[in-house]
Amino acid sequence: AANTDTFNYETYHTLDEIYSFMDMLVAENPNLVSKIQIGKTYEGRPIFVLKFSTSTKEEKRPAIWIDTGIHSREWVTQASGTWFAKKITKDYKQDKTLTSILDNMDIFLEIVTNPDGYAFTHSKNRLWRKTRSRNDGTSCVGADPNRNWDAAFGKPGASGNPCTETYHGKAPNSESEVKSIVDFVQNHKNIKAFISIHSYSQLLLYPYGYTKDPAPDQQELDQLAKAAVDALSAVHGTKYKYGSIYTTIYQASGNTVDWTYGQGIKYSYTFELRDTGRYGFLLPAAQIVPTAEETWAALMTIMDHTHKHPY
């Protein structure tokens, strides 16, 4: 693609194509978008985050974090992340709600959260989920980066077997893809919403995953989840369930949003995008844009609420 207008949002792209897209977006919107490298993957690839900010000062404004593709095979998430990035640049100064958010807050978007895994899905194994780190004493590779966070790490709901898909890794933050985000969040200190996007099964979830005990903000999180799901469903009629991770799907220790919630980020959510099972992780490319459109409606609901309910 010559620019981000001619970039094809209706197909899946390689890591190089997505990284080129990010560079184009930054070049086209120098006063709104910048690219930050927050770390390197196990295999040495750079980990990039797009920063959308209208501030001209060196300040850490209240911010919203969105990440897509921590599980590499969930291709519709990276594709949706790409669409979100373009959407933000298109809607700023056009959409009142987004403009108001961006005039007061920054948005960070990590489109490919697990670059090694994503590259591997394009080259060797389309259904690879984990990172690509080596595990001592076994031929099995990688850890589940959504079990690697320092939130009830290693407790039930994760596996200690390196050959399983939910292997938690050897220690909290042992995966550089996780550690990079941890360092970024802790250095920033002013992130107010953290939204981690997965697929599939059409769910909007909030903490906790490691315990069935309700989170202290359970009532507000639940109400906001309902509003977000209603907004999502209004776009294409897609049905979503919502609730805590533990009560809605299953126990999952060491997961992303339990950690972010524990860091004081009240609006911590995780999505599972389309579909309900017909295609699983192999969602046809024709569904990328509808998926992104409906998810955007839910994201806007959460971002707007975060903006209007400072804490």
Partner: protein, 94 residues
């Protein structure tokens, strides 16, 4: 490139807690090399699992002998992957 010819994705319905536990036992049978796309959770919620060609018969027998109902969600994973590749090539050519 790894191929997935003959791999099927089965959707299993566990009606009660005992059946959920049965699927958890299945999950622990490493030699079957199962890939749970949606793991066993509460009774009534569906469980999706990719089964390699070599394990399809054994898994189906296990499910049937345990009284677990299932359906074939994806008949041949490789066929879907081939379609995905064709679409991507077509877009690149365009």
């Amino acid at each position: 490139r790894e191929d997935f010819v003959g791999h099927q994705v089965l959707r299993i319905l566990a009606a009660d807690e005992a059946q959920v536990q049965t699927v958890k036992e299945l999950e622990e049978l490493e030699h079957l090399q199962l890939d749970f796309w949606r793991g066993p959770a509460q009774p009534g919620s569906s469980i999706d699992v990719r089964v390699p060609f070599a394990s399809v018969q054994a898994v189906k027998m296990f499910l049937e002998s345990s009284g677990l109902s299932y359906s074939i969600m994806i008949e041949d994973v490789q066929a879907l992957l081939d379609e995905e590749q064709e679409q991507m090539f077509a877009f690149q050519a365009r």
